[in-house]
């Protein structure tokens, strides 16, 4: 590719603007009606999951929830562009994308509920475990794709990160390894403007995060992250390019974290309410609703059906989180290594004796 073809556009790709009006683009096509309706369903469900999880933290049923409220177009887009055999490597803020891939909502929340560190088998839905270190999963994605490529498989790996993570060393190493080994990875940055409290202007002096791509010799592109049509089109092109052997690329979505970092954060200390309000007008759901209604693709009955489906998911999430799981203290020792060492067995015997002395009949009891 010529050098200038690696550079992103000066402004993010947009296919449906914030008023719900279609925008013509010479390169990126509007997804078909079925895809847009599926995406809208994902947005409605994702918003409901975000708001339900947020409420469950306030009720003390979850330890913490990093919400993707406002970023649902990125979450849904990341899931819909992947085929069954493709893999998603998410961050801790990507629970909606994880659920959109097919992981049961309750299983996706196990880390945040506190029952275990992860609640799903990665291979079952081709979703890597979520974890809280930043940018480390990008390297896992590159290695995973590298192995697939060596076996001649056409798997594509989509690796997610936020704007803050682009400052980490592993971000750089992942980009570089991916480009040098020409592996089928798409890096998708959700630039939501804040790393907890630190604004993007303090993370980077680059013209945009997508501009970093040219430094690694891969194409970069910018997309309106609140426009699910544009996200689908831009990400979809990158995924198919990777699948066809075209190598990695870097997509930056411009979006906004509408809520605090987590419930434990107070965002009034570092950003103005007017700024947050300005982003309400750019909401990913409302513009899609306007667009689809205008196109005659969505009516009140369909809206009600979607809302009811989302409510079912929220109810299932509430039920799961309002139920105390049967926990087994021996699990602490079960999975550390494939075979339990004599030392761990000795320590488990000590804990078991302690549990028995406390008069609890089974190992699942609490102090």
């Amino acid at each position: 590719m010529r050098h200038d073809e690696l550079l992103p556009r000066d402004t993010p790709v947009s296919l449906i603007d914030e008023t719900g009006t279609a925008v013509a683009d010479e390169r990126y096509a509007m997804p078909d009606a079925d895809t847009l309706l599926r995406a809208y369903q994902g947005l409605v469900e994702g918003r409901r999951i975000n708001d339900q999880a947020y409420a469950l933290v306030r009720q003390g049923r979850m330890a913490v929830y990093p919400s993707s409220h406002g970023q649902e177009a990125c979450q849904v887009g990341a899931s819909l562009v992947l085929g069954d055999h493709d893999w998603l490597f998410p961050t801790y803020r990507d629970s909606v994308a994880v659920i959109a891939r097919g992981v049961a909502p309750a299983d996706a929340m196990v880390l945040l509920k506190g029952d275990w560190h992860s609640g799903y088998d990665p291979a079952a839905h081709r979703v890597a475990p979520q974890a809280t270190p930043l940018a480390t999963q990008l390297l896992h994605a590159v290695g995973f794709a590298h192995a697939a490529k060596r076996r001649g498989e056409d798997t594509v790996v989509l690796a997610l990160c936020g704007d803050g993570a682009t400052s980490e060393g592993d971000f750089h190493e992942a980009m570089n390894f991916a480009a040098v080994f020409h592996v089928p990875v798409v890096f998708f940055i959700q630039n939501n403007e804040f790393a907890i409290s630190v604004p993007l202007s303090k993370q980077t002096a680059a013209p945009s995060l997508a501009h970093k791509a040219i430094g690694y010799g891969m194409p970069g592109q910018r997309v309106d992250g609140n426009d699910v049509a544009a996200v689908l089109s831009v990400l979809g092109e990158a995924v198919e390019r990777a699948r066809a052997g075209g190598g990695p690329s870097l997509i930056e979505a411009h979006t906004y974290r509408m809520q605090a970092h987590t419930n434990a954060d107070d965002d009034t200390r570092y950003r103005e309410r007017d700024e947050v309000k300005a982003w309400v007008a750019r909401d990913p759901l409302s513009r899609m609703q306007t667009y689809l209604t205008g196109q005659g693709l969505l009516d009140d009955a369909a809206e009600e059906r979607l809302a009811a489906g989302a409510e079912d998911i929220a109810a299932a999430l509430r039920d799961a989180l309002n139920t105390d799981a049967e926990l087994d203290a021996e699990d602490l020792f079960r999975f550390v290594t494939a075979e339990r060492s004599p030392q761990l067995d000795e320590q488990w015997q000590l804990l078991r004796a302690e549990i028995e002395r406390a008069g609890l009949t089974d190992a699942g009891g609490h102090r």
């Binding site: 990665p122 974890a131 995973f144 570089n176």
Partner: protein, 346 residues
């Protein structure tokens, strides 16, 4: 792309018995593992055409192709982090960190993911990978080329941490490490790379076991890696002075072979732990504590430690002062309350 060379049938099919250096034994182990298992991949810095700065991967890229042994960009977190993804996707990566101190950029990947992914996923994901790290001093290396970083790894639940002291163990333990379903930090004592010994490639070693390197009845030296030959030298000198010194090669730092070590110290009643690393909060202090806890009633004297000083590793011209030697071990042995025995026998 398909995996190349998976149909290679080497002369390595037959077990080999012969004298070779530890470096050659490690090279042989890598070659045999690559030949036997198409999922084994060897990668790192300078491991391809050069064959590694210590030549441990000499000839592998040429023999098996760049699909099986290849150079990466110069970034240790990238090497280990991509190995994690490869292990998640059915490969058995064997990665080389060029020197002990240069493994540190990969530390987050090792501690936060390599060691924890199996536990995080309740065993759904395993990390069958080997991280080879040349470590320790005694070769006149400059700063950052002689560190003993084993305690950081041994302190981390989920990692198997081993270090051989003979060419035979180097071969057999590296094969066992590559075959392990769990991640193994494989520490190679640089000073012993060129030491020679008999190797029989049909010999297997269970990781997690210590080895009796020399029988003895008066005192037990508990050593590992480059300190094992030093302990054997001290034992030889002590024998000439009428003292029978047992030497245990710990060789598996985690998990630890309490059974062998406890039986050994109970049999002699005296023990000295020997390690090159700084002693404070170290593998040596852990061994000392375990021996005290498990052998207290059998001990004739406090368990002593002879370790590196709690200083950064010495510059080349001062390292002879830093590294424990046979004299320092003999002094420690001499301090183990032998007078009480002599009084008792009077």
């Amino acid at each position: 792309m398909t995996i190349a060379h998976d149909d290679i049938r080497l002369d390595t099919e037959r077990p080999v018995v012969g004298t070779m250096t530890m470096a050659a034994a490690l090279n042989r182990a890598l070659a045999d593992a690559i030949a036997e298992d198409p999922s084994v991949l060897v990668f790192g810095e300078d491991v391809g055409a050069l064959g590694g700065v210590f030549r441990i991967t000499d000839g592998l890229a040429e023999r098996f192709g760049e699909d099986r042994c290849f150079d990466t960009p110069l970034a240790e977190s990238g090497i280990v982090g991509t190995a994690v993804g490869m292990a998640m996707n059915g490969m058995r990566p064997v990665v080389e960190m060029q020197f002990d101190a240069f493994a540190l950029p990969a530390f987050e990947q090792v501690v936060s993911h390599v060691a924890k992914l199996g536990n995080r996923t309740r065993g759904a994901v395993r990390m069958p990978m080997v991280i080879r790290i040349p470590f320790g001093g005694g070769i006149g290396g400059v700063e950052h080329h002689c560190d003993s970083s084993e305690s950081y790894y041994a302190h981390t639940p989920g990692l198997t941490v081993v270090s051989p002291s003979t060419p035979q163990d180097a071969y057999s333990m590296l094969r066992a490490a590559i075959a392990s379903p769990d991640p193994v930090v494989f520490l190679e004592p640089k000073k012993l790379y060129w030491s020679k010994g008999e190797v029989d490639t049909s010999v297997t070693v269970d990781l997690g076991t210590a080895r009796v390197a020399r029988e003895g009845t008066d005192v037990t030296l508990l050593a590992y890696a480059a300190m094992v030959p030093v302990a054997l030298e001290a034992a030889e000198i002590a024998a000439s002075e009428g003292r029978s010194v047992q030497v245990i090669d710990i060789r598996s730092l985690s998990p630890f072979d309490d059974a062998t070590v406890t039986a050994a110290v109970k049999s002699t009643g005296r023990a000295v732990v020997v390690a090159e690393a700084p002693g404070y909060v170290s593998v040596a202090s852990e061994i000392q504590a375990r021996v005290f806890e498990r052998c207290f009633e059998y001990l004739e004297a406090p368990v002593r430690r002879v370790t590196g000083f709690d200083t950064p590793f010495a510059p080349p011209k001062l390292e002879h002062w830093y590294l424990p030697d046979a004299d320092r071990l003999l002094d420690a042995i001499d301090s183990l309350h032998w007078d009480d025995d002599e009084r008792a026998s009077r």
